[in-house]
Symmetry: C2
């Protein structure tokens, strides 16, 4: 039973801080937070911070949880995404909780569902 | 689709700090942390702090996520548990990450599966 796989149990506090790599092993960023379905407890998005320098100019990107694969060897998550895809992806402002409207959720889902099935493209 | 229910999306950072009530509306404690399945992202346990005074002597209890029901009116989780059940429940030391062995996970599951189906009883 999945519930018994306690060796794969991790605290949300510890997911935060886990590195995210691309397919080539380049570090893209770090998980900041996890967005859960309030009722089911299913993780829907990992918020990944990326860019900037020493925390300045850093952006926060909600990535669909299903796009993350945990790689025990690297001790981090691997995503099938490129820096180019991230650069035009919807960002999230953790300080503005009102940001997460239903429309915003759809924007994220639409961006990643189209971005993952086609070549990277500009959304501007 | 569940993924679209963005009004029910909440940050793990914000689940932490959410109150937990019993069926009668008594506040039992506060969620400290969420234990996730590392691979699927499913929340398996909420770590609830309970007891003590001003953070001293406080205990941390992993509760099966399935035992928590979010009540929007109370703005917190409701559990079908009593203080008596909590008092003899397995505790968790957040400072000792090695605590979470497979045996420990089984102890939690066994305690709550028997405790929830029968009258509260001592496990000492």
């Amino acid at each position: 039973m999945a519930e018994r796989e306690t060796s794969s149990v991790i605290s949300a506090d510890k997911v935060e801080g886990t590195a995210v790599y691309d397919r080539s092993g380049n570090r893209l960023g770090t998980v900041d937070d996890v967005m859960l379905d309030k009722v089911s407890g299913k993780a829907l998005y990992a918020i990944m911070s990326f860019g900037g320098f020493l925390g300045m100019g850093e952006n926060h990107y909600p990535l669909p949880w299903s796009s993350l694969t945990y790689d025990p060897n690297q001790g981090g998550y691997v995503v099938e995404l490129t820096k180019e895809q991230l650069e035009s992806a919807p960002t999230y402002d953790p300080a503005a909780s009102s940001t997460w409207t239903p429309e915003y959720g759809r924007d994220i889902d639409d961006y990643w569902s189209s971005s993952r099935s086609t070549a990277p493209r500009s959304r501007v």
